[in-house]
């Protein structure tokens, strides 16, 4: 059947445009801050690279929740570690963000600012007392009122060191450095004795290092960065000394945690941060290193180690707010956090859990020693990464630090530039 040219044009344009109009329509009109209704409905729960090792734990957790709340169905989605922020941003922009999502505070901040995270001070205030106060307030976003995720597990890593390399450099293998001053002295000695063959560190200083060195990271109002203060310049100057003496690995400027971990395994680097999970890896991949492995606390000049915090947020646009809030709370309640902690080296953020004998009683194994030491240090640990410190800011800092280490600009100029770039990005974030 023939049709007019105009009608055809309209049909083609409509065919092109109509499907596209569905793209990016993130607001489906669902959502409520009222979590007091009936706990029912189908919800989705997204975790961050946990299926491979903890499938049975989460299958059991979900089955128990569904049994406790008939009429609910939880669909579990797990995303790989690599590119997790990109996956979240695609889902958030496309309106397909799951109902309950595993996030860290720096990922939570942009989601909360975009109005996609439910304010739990309004929807779930009754649960607040179950969590450590610091953990609950750790889910707040500067410049906003409210708490936007249930605190989930906390983590802090020990520092591993190669006792054999310490011994060869004439250092006491049973007395590793504890502060940055001690670290710099030992690192220079290690490099000197090994004629530059053995570096002590394989990564350039990050924002956490500046925090642990006692540098003020942001101004008091939280409106701008301040790590270019005198102490920050001092830290970078000392790192430059390490770099020049080859006490900092030459490839540190482009290193990733994976690449520096490999260097530690091969004995090219004497110290590396890690977690209790790494011990198993050392046993399998480097038995020689495992025999000589030393375990110590993170280097800090403030007396407070760095803490990594995970949270579980509820999508503010979920159509089943009561079920999503109930499930997010269920995943993070004291009992379930404790049982998760017994499967992997993480630490509960629920009040009183760290006093459990599991975190206080020695049994003579290395794993327990690491766990007890970490649990102890967590009691006064600090999450040094400012929640508004985005990936773009991390890159800006890292690039300026690299220029200072290469001697292309002074540490002062590098940090001034980094602060300027981060402040500009902060303003653009809105």
């Amino acid at each position: 059947m023939p049709m007019s040219r105009r009608a055809l044009a309209v049909a083609v344009v409509s065919a092109l445009v109509l499907p596209l109009s569905a793209c990016g329509s993130s607001d489906d009109g669902g959502g409520s801050t009222d979590a007091s209704g009936a706990i029912e409905g189908d919800i989705t729960f997204q975790t961050w690279n946990l299926r491979a090792n903890f499938k049975s734990y989460f299958d059991g957790l979900i089955a128990d929740f569904e049994k406790e709340h008939p009429g609910t169905h939880v669909k579990w989605i797990d995303q790989p570690a690599e590119g997790y922020p990109d996956k979240l941003s695609a889902d958030a922009a496309g309106g397909t963000l799951p109902d309950v999502v595993n996030v860290s505070p720096d990922l939570l901040a942009p989601l909360a600012k975009a109005g996609l995270a439910l304010d739990l001070d309004k929807a779930a205030a009754k649960y607040r007392s179950e969590y450590l106060d610091g953990a609950w307030t750790g889910q707040r976003i500067p410049g906003m009122t409210g708490t936007y995720a249930f605190p989930w597990y906390l983590n802090t890593g020990p520092l591993f060191y190669n006792k054999d390399l310490f011994r060869k450099a004439g250092l006491d293998p049973d007395s590793p450095p504890k502060t940055y001053d001690e670290l710099f002295t030992d690192a220079l000695q290690l490099a000197k004795k090994s004629d530059g063959e053995v570096a002590t560190l394989a990564n350039v200083p990050t924002i956490e290092d500046f925090g642990r060195y006692g540098v003020e990271l942001m101004n008091k109002q939280g409106t701008g960065f301040a790590f270019n203060e005198a102490r920050g310049v001092e830290l970078l100057t000392r790192y430059k000394e390490l770099y020049d003496a080859k006490a900092l690995d030459p490839q540190a400027l482009t290193a990733t945690p994976e690449s520096s971990g490999k260097k530690f395994l091969t004995g090219a680097v004497a110290m590396n941060p890690g977690s209790a999970l790494d011990l198993e890896n050392f046993k399998k991949q480097a038995p020689g290193l495992y025999k000589n492995i030393g375990i110590t606390d993170q280097i800090t000049s403030t007396g407070h180690v760095n803490m990594y915090v995970m949270g579980v947020m509820v999508n503010s646009r979920t159509k089943h707010t009561p079920a999503a809030v109930a499930f997010a709370h269920y995943v993070t309640d004291a009992q379930n956090q404790m049982s998760f902690a017994k499967k992997v080296a993480i630490f509960p953020s629920t009040a009183g859990s760290l006093d459990d004998p599991y975190f206080t009683k020695e049994d003579g194994t290395d794993e327990t020693r690491v766990r007890i030491a970490a649990a102890k240090s967590l009691k006064n640990a600090v999450n040094y990464t400012p929640v508004l410190f985005s990936d773009q800011m991390k890159t800006a800092l890292r690039n300026e630090v690299a220029k200072a280490l290469q001697g292309r600009q002074s540490p002062r100029a590098a940090l001034d530039n980094a602060v300027k770039a981060c402040d500009r990005l902060l303003t653009q974030q809105g």
Partner: protein
């Protein structure tokens, strides 16, 4: 006034061809036209990943003129084209000449040269990182012969050169296949006549082979230029997510990726960068085609 039957036919179009074309049109519309138009629109806004943008006119383009990292990325992308394209035009042709002969076992070499083409770029990247690492195989060999270790992955320029080497190594087989097809159509009589006239192998190559495959060389140059200007994987894998020490090995596409992705990505600014990549790529194509036309004239 009623239209004549002829005019009516002219003013109407049959539906069936358009129905056949509709699926293709939809796919092109959704995955080519819409993203392109969206990129152009976004480049004039301050849109972020989760925050709809406001119209900011040419602000993004003005900003990139003052962005040091943009100029570094542009420099690296241009250097990449200059470093990689001549090698990818000449070396695969020489390789094709070597493997075009029908001698026993030649299929093995053809397959061997083609293997890097089908290998995953991630695997290729990892292998080259192991080879070029400070304590990798290449540095061990250099140390054995007394040269000492070379910072292939820690020096800004060596890193870029290493990435170019990987691109050339991976692309040789692909362009070799294109040249093999072109060489197959070169009349043997021309070579025989040149040989009778006393031309040696080099002269025959320059006077017979090169003119015969010249249009293929232009095609290879155009394809390689576009691919080189848009390079991402090789540099990303060798230089790391920061783009080398202090980001000095960042290329334009890496900068687009770094700027525009993630929850705090600056989609508007990244779109402006993408438009620059698009314009330069089109310009490169036109330049190569124009050079070809001038040769023909």
């Amino acid at each position: 006034m009623a239209l004549s039957p002829v005019s009516r036919v002219r003013r109407q179009l049959p539906v069936s061809p358009w129905l056949f074309a509709a699926p293709g049109l939809l796919v092109v519309g959704a995955f080519v036209l819409y993203p392109f138009v969206s990129t152009v629109v976004n480049s004039f806004t301050d849109r972020r990943t989760l925050i709809p943008g406001r119209f900011v006119g040419l602000a993004n383009f003005r900003e990139l003129l003052h962005d040091e990292m943009f100029w570094i990325a542009l420099r690296n992308s241009v250097l990449y084209v200059l470093g990689v394209v001549p090698a990818l035009v000449v070396l695969p042709l020489l390789l094709a000449l070597l493997v075009q002969k029908n001698i026993p076992g030649i299929a093995f070499f053809r397959s061997a040269f083609y293997t890097p083409v089908v290998a995953s770029i991630v695997v290729v990247g990892l292998i080259w990182v192991w080879l070029l690492d400070e304590r990798g195989l290449v540095n061990s060999l250099l140390e054995t012969v007394g040269v000492g270790r070379v910072g292939f992955l820690s020096d800004q320029w060596l890193l870029l050169l290493s990435a170019m080497a990987v691109t050339v190594w991976k692309g040789l087989g692909y362009y070799m296949i294109i040249y093999l097809a072109a060489l197959a159509s070169v009349p043997r009589e021309l070579h025989e006549a040149a040989a009778v006239d006393g031309a040696g192998a080099v002269r025959r190559f320059l006077t017979v082979t090169v003119p015969a495959v010249r249009s293929t060389m232009v095609l290879v140059a155009a394809l390689a230029s576009v691919a080189a200007f848009k390079v991402f994987s090789e540099v990303y894998l060798l230089a790391g997510p920061t783009g080398g020490p202090a980001g000095e090995d960042t290329t334009l596409v890496m900068l687009v990726q770094r700027t525009g992705t993630g929850l705090t990505g600056r989609v508007g600014y990244a779109s402006a960068l993408s438009l620059v990549v698009f314009v330069v790529t089109v310009a490169l194509m036109l330049l190569v085609l124009r050079a070809d036309r001038r040769e023909d004239a």
